[in-house]
């Protein structure tokens, strides 16, 4: 099916997320949509999918104008979408998720589960997915969940399939498999809109490329275009993603993790005998596909998790069994993976967020009260030093953009007397300019002789920052390798394959 978007404009209040965007996807074409974080890609696709109503513009399917009042209409018209954030119901089975909204029924609305199962099996076998229709989605790894999303779209005979950053949660191998599937689908006549910021993937699979920046189409490109060309189109200037890192001057072992094991409440083992050391002045980066225990590892070190066994020694002091507060007081700086959930109190002001973990004693307190003068003074300094773009210290942190929120967290965590610095996904959802800044600060911490532990799912970030790389798979450390290990080897380790 041919898809055409004409002059789509979508505003959120004063923010113009899509500014008169036009693009055409030919039948059987893989059309890549490229753009930085916040460029407006997902918004455009949500408009196409009927989730948002465009403020201006038109959608044409096979040259006929259509208006979608909701996703139901879009799906009826043959549009399928795999969302950036999966739209699966965790407590439902695969079959239930797939049939939701177009359920096969017996008389009287009684669900025909057999038919739904059959449909899942049929599509699974067509693409070589091994998905059991009766598995609970919450029990499936992310890669499999994504396949469920694809089955969902295909089960409705999608003729235009939108894939919004499908590779972010996949191993390189799984990514390759997905590329094959995309080609297979395109060959059978399905049009595909493929969103990503990974240039490599675009070059591998796309027939046409549209680049969006700040809500506008800034250019079209052929898959043969070079990475540098694409990157400068995306960002609007020349970018240099390498980090200037002075040579390593590692000191003694500072953080020693031995046989760390952790169970969740259901007895599931999430960390399995994890052992590693980080030396003072060294960055150890943990690579791995999301959901292989990295989050649990950092949270276990910080004392946020129960049922943790083994040992975490920081400068000789045992941390396992201590409270979060004691561990923070021991000098651990911690940038959580999900800043909105764990790092900030959205309705608190920037100034309040900057003293979040220091309300018990210290310079921010005066007797039983808060020392407001010091708090505001500190906020002023931090806003200046970290170039936090905010109207002021009293602005609620939730109103800042993602990158600036991250800087608030960073400013807070770096302002303490550090013995260890842990950062999870330090630049997730942050623009290129801020990434450079954040990376510089992390390297500066390392150079002041503090051990640094970084967790990231972006291999580019890992290779840019790490002195050594530990790869996690299913709660274990598969291997610890030097920072110059080739991508392909890292990819294999991330898939649990040891050389």
């Amino acid at each position: 099916m041919k898809l055409e978007l004409r002059g789509i404009t979508k505003r959120f209040g004063s923010l113009v997320a899509n500014d008169s965007i036009s693009l055409t996807v030919q039948p059987g074409e893989v059309h890549a949509l490229l753009g930085e974080n916040g460029a407006g890609k997902s918004t455009l696709m949500n408009v196409l999918y009927g989730l948002y109503q465009p403020d201006e513009g038109q959608i044409l399917l096979d040259d006929e104008a259509v208006v979608f009042a909701g996703p139901g209409d879009a799906m009826q018209a043959g549009i399928g979408m795999v969302h950036q954030h999966f739209m699966l119901i965790p407590v439902f089975t695969v079959a239930e998720n797939v049939m939701l909204g177009h359920e096969p029924t017996h008389a009287g609305g009684v669900l025909d589960l057999a038919k739904a199962r059959e449909l899942v099996r049929e599509i699974s076998s067509r693409f070589g997915f091994e998905i059991s229709p009766d598995a609970l989605v919450s029990d499936l790894p992310v890669g499999a969940q994504q396949r469920v999303e694809i089955i969902k779209a295909l089960s409705r005979d999608a003729k235009v399939l939108v894939l919004d950053e499908p590779t972010a949660v996949l191993t390189p191998q799984e990514t390759d498999e997905l590329m094959v599937i995309m080609k297979q689908l395109a060959a059978s006549g399905t049009s595909i809109v493929f969103i990503t910021h990974k240039l490599r993937e675009v070059q591998a699979v796309a027939d046409t490329i549209t680049v969006i920046r700040l809500g506008k189409v800034v250019g079209e490109a052929e898959p043969t275009a070079s990475s540098a060309e694409l990157a400068s189109l995306m960002v609007g200037r020349d970018v240099d993603l390498t980090v200037d890192k002075p040579p390593l001057h590692a000191g003694a072992d500072a953080l020693v993790v031995t046989e760390l094991t952790h169970f969740d409440d259901h007895g599931q083992k999430l960390l399995d005998d994890v052992s590693f050391t980080v030396r003072a002045g060294e960055i150890l980066a943990i690579a791995g596909v999301q959901g292989n225990g990295q989050t649990e590892l950092t949270e276990a070190i910080l004392g946020l998790r129960h049922r943790v066994y083994g040992s975490v020694k920081l400068g000789g002091r045992e941390l396992v069994g201590s409270s979060v507060r004691d561990i923070l007081d021991a000098g651990v700086g911690y940038v959580p993976e999900d800043r909105k959930k764990d790092g900030l109190v959205g309705e608190f002001s920037v100034a309040e967020n900057l003293m979040l973990d220091r309300s018990f004693a210290g310079p921010f307190t005066k007797g039983l009260g808060v020392d407001f003068a010091h708090r505001d003074e500190f906020a002023r300094e931090a806003i200046g030093e970290f170039d936090i773009r905010t109207p002021g210290g009293s602005t609620p942190a939730g109103r800042l953009s993602g990158g600036n929120q991250q800087k608030v967290v960073l400013a807070r965590e770096l302002s303490r007397d550090l013995q260890l610095f842990i950062a999870s996904q330090p630049t997730r959802g942050v623009d290129v300019g801020s990434i450079e800044f954040i990376h510089e600060r992390i390297v500066a911490v390392r150079d002041s002789g503090i051990p640094v532990l970084i967790v990231s799912t972006e291999l580019d970030e890992i290779t840019a920052l790490a002195d050594r790389i530990a790869v996690m798979y299913r709660g274990r450390i598969v291997d610890i390798v030097p920072s110059d290990t080739p991508r392909s080897t890292l990819g294999q380790l991330m898939a649990g394959v040891v050389a």
């Binding site: 997902s42 949500n46 989730l51 109503q53 403020d55 104008a65 259509v66 208006v67 009042a69 139901g72 209409d73 009826q76 018209a77 969302h83 950036q84 954030h85 999966f86 699966l88 965790p90 910080l302 946020l304 409270s323 979060v324 507060r325 561990i327 923070l328 007081d329 911690y334 959580p336 909105k340 959930k341 764990d342 790092g343 900030l344 109190v345 959205g346 309705e347 608190f348 309040e352 979040l356 973990d357 309300s359 018990f360 921010f364 307190t365 039983l368 009260g369 808060v370 939730g398």
Partner: protein, 412 residues
């Protein structure tokens, strides 16, 4: 996986907090309009049950004027009586009698403010304490014990009795915090059950020598407090207004300082808005739940003390006087802020004080219950008030476009 990431980028907030915003956000004018609207709706109840109006409605079409003047005077009389009963009695013979209504309003406001602060505190920590009723009962029982079974000199006795009351309520409330922290039981259920348990328990205690004069009647009832433990009147004998109101004002200041200025309040609010971030910042969320309920109980305890020691007489298990539930509406109306609760407490105090006068004007007292509920309902829904009064506000949602594609509809 968050449910709303791609459409709603701001972090999800705990309920109590959203409601706080909803209640607070609109400001003074909207609050006023909500109150006006509530009274307007209640007027309908007054009109349609007023005898004169019913008579006049018999010949509504013949002489509509009669109907409207009867309706007008029914409503006018009712609200004039409310004014006389709660603010200033312009019919009174003496100055004291003229101003007594205002002092009565304040006297009723005292426990409402204290209870409202207690409930408000729990809201701001993201909890819903509907257990003020039980907490007041237990606190009052404690205060009664200290005021009648322990005998101490003036001054000290009052202090001891007040402390007993505060501790009683705080203990009862702390149970909620402990259960929530350690078993995860939902505080709404726990507080409701504890209300019922408190009624039975306190009734039982009011039959035992702990609280009861076994020589007297067998009714569940306390022994009157020693004169040394009664909250003294502050405006002289002509007015029943007593020290409890001063305590309530002090509680407002304490609450303000605690929530807005102190480090403890900082942590309480933090847990209320984002418990995950609080945990990551080294705060023991369970301890905060227990602390919050205990503090909430302390404020409620002040309401209990007002009820138990505000008069020289004894009291029965109905000592809570509906304050437990009114405190919730006071907290909601006051946006859980110190000043808001003060204002809401005084407003509801006025409704209580004015009720008898309205009854004398032949209006069923239940009307005021309806008014209270409506005020909160209207305040909680800013868009409703905006629509009704055509106020400017956030632009309405873009109107849904009509489906243009017929085929789509038919296909579905």
């Amino acid at each position: 996986m968050s449910t709303d990431q791609s459409v709603n980028a701001l972090p999800p907030q705990p309920r109590a907090n959203q409601l706080l915003q909803a209640v607070l956000g609109g400001g003074f004018v909207r609050t006023l309009l909500a109150i006006v609207l509530a009274f307007a709706v209640a007027s309908l109840l007054i009109i349609f049950t007023n005898e004169d109006v019913i008579t006049a409605s018999g010949y509504l079409f013949g002489r509509p004027g009669d109907f409207f003047s009867a309706a007008g005077s029914a409503v006018g009389d009712a609200y004039a009586a409310l004014f006389r009963g709660s603010i200033y009695n312009y019919n009174a013979d003496t100055v004291v009698a003229a101003f007594r209504p205002l002092t009565e309003t304040l006297r009723f406001a005292g426990p409402l403010i204290a209870g409202g602060l207690g409930v408000a505190l729990s809201f701001r920590v993201g909890m819903f304490n509907i257990g003020a009723q039980g907490q007041i009962l237990v606190g009052a029982a404690f205060a009664s014990f200290a005021s009648s079974m322990i005998h101490l000199p003036y001054g000290i006795h009052l202090i001891v009795a007040v402390l007993f009351g505060l501790v009683g309520s705080a203990l009862w409330a702390a149970i909620v915090g402990v259960l929530k922290a350690f078993t995860g039981a939902h505080e709404v259920i726990v507080t409701i059950m504890l209300n019922y348990i408190a009624i039975s328990l306190v009734t039982y205690l009011m039959r035992t020598p702990l609280l009861h004069d076994m020589e007297g009647s067998n009714n569940p009832m306390t022994i009157p407090p020693d004169p040394t433990a009664v909250l003294p009147r502050i405006l002289g004998e002509g007015f029943a207004l007593h020290l409890g109101f001063v305590f309530a004002i002090i509680a407002v200041v304490v609450y303000w300082w605690l929530m807005e200025r102190s480090t403890t309040g900082f942590r309480l609010r933090m847990v209320g808005i984002n418990p995950d971030a609080a945990r990551t910042a080294g705060i023991d969320v369970r301890k905060i739940y227990i602390l919050a309920m205990t503090l909430s109980g302390l404020f409620v305890g002040l309401a209990a003390v007002n009820q138990a020691l505000g008069r020289e007489g004894s009291f029965t298990p109905s000592v809570d006087g509906g304050i437990g539930f009114d405190a919730i509406t006071v907290a909601l109306l006051g946006g859980s802020r110190a000043l808001g609760v003060l204002g809401a407490g005084i407003l509801f105090g006025a409704l209580k004080a004015g009720g008898p006068a309205m009854q004398v004007a032949d209006v069923a007292p239940e009307v005021l219950g309806v008014v209270q509920a409506l005020i909160v309902l209207f305040i909680a829904a800013p868009p409703l008030i905006r629509t009704i009064f055509h106020l400017p506000g956030r632009p309405k949602r873009a109107p849904r476009k009509v489906k243009a594609t017929k085929q789509l509809e038919e296909a579905s």
